[in-house]
């Protein structure tokens, strides 16, 4: 069972570079999310999507972009990376039924130097 798969797991970026974190899920979930987790903190929502073609901002969207062209995929794009974007990024997905579990990927560790 693959669940939610994120790539890459680790990446070092230089300031000003851009990159895309990939996320795919094989559970046919309509909801997908991107969170970031800074050291010693809880997760903060960056962007979310309620279905293909629909995305919306979360709590901390600045410096990021997303797209949702298919149900399975929800890539997160970092433009002009900054040291403040050093964090662990988690993709998650769920099916819209009250009480359904939200499943998280393994995380992507990103360092901007």
């Amino acid at each position: 069972n693959a669940g939610v798969t994120q790539t890459p797991k680790f990446r070092i970026l230089k300031i000003g570079q851009s990159m895309t974190l990939q996320c795919t899920q094989d559970m046919n979930h309509n909801y997908m999310y991107w969170y970031r987790q800074d050291p010693g903190m809880g997760l903060k929502l960056i962007y979310y999507s309620v279905g293909a073609g629909i995305t919306d901002k979360g709590e901390v969207p600045n410096g990021y972009n997303v797209s949702r062209s298919t149900t399975e995929d929800f890539p997160l794009r970092l433009e002009l990376a900054a040291p403040s974007q050093t964090s662990v990024y988690f993709c998650a997905s769920s099916y819209w039924v009250a009480g359904n579990t939200i499943y998280f990927g393994e995380g992507s560790w990103l360092t901007v130097v």
Partner: protein, 112 residues
């Protein structure tokens, strides 16, 4: 803005002891989630609490929800070393399409 506060943030326990982690939140919600995170790992869902008075138990962990007090508790009974992890509560703001606001987490260490 929804705020979620957990306490304590750090908890060191002896094996066999009982303890409770508290999760307070600032706005109306009747959906609360508890997650466990091991170091360097992803989040594992423990409990989903959907209504006032909800209580769920799994092994040595029991979670409850009081929506009127805006409070959830995670009670640990007879702790064992394997329970050492960080525990997060997360609250879904009403009508928010499953957007969760997380607490800062409680780092639990169970000592022999």
């Amino acid at each position: 803005e929804l705020k979620v506060e957990q306490n304590p943030l750090f908890l060191s326990m002896q094996e066999g002891k009982n303890y409770t982690i508290y999760c307070n939140y600032s706005t109306t919600s009747d959906r609360l989630y508890w997650y466990r995170q091991d170091p360097g790992k992803s989040l594992e869902s423990l409990f989903v609490l959907l209504s006032n008075g909800a209580v769920k138990q799994e092994g040595r962990l029991m979670a409850s929800l009081d929506t009127k007090a805006r409070l959830s508790t995670l009670h640990i009974t007879a702790a064992v070393h394997d329970l050492s992890a960080t525990y997060f509560c997360a609250v879904e703001e009403g009508g928010s399409n499953y957007k969760l606001t997380f607490g800062k987490g409680t780092l639990l260490t169970v000592n022999p």
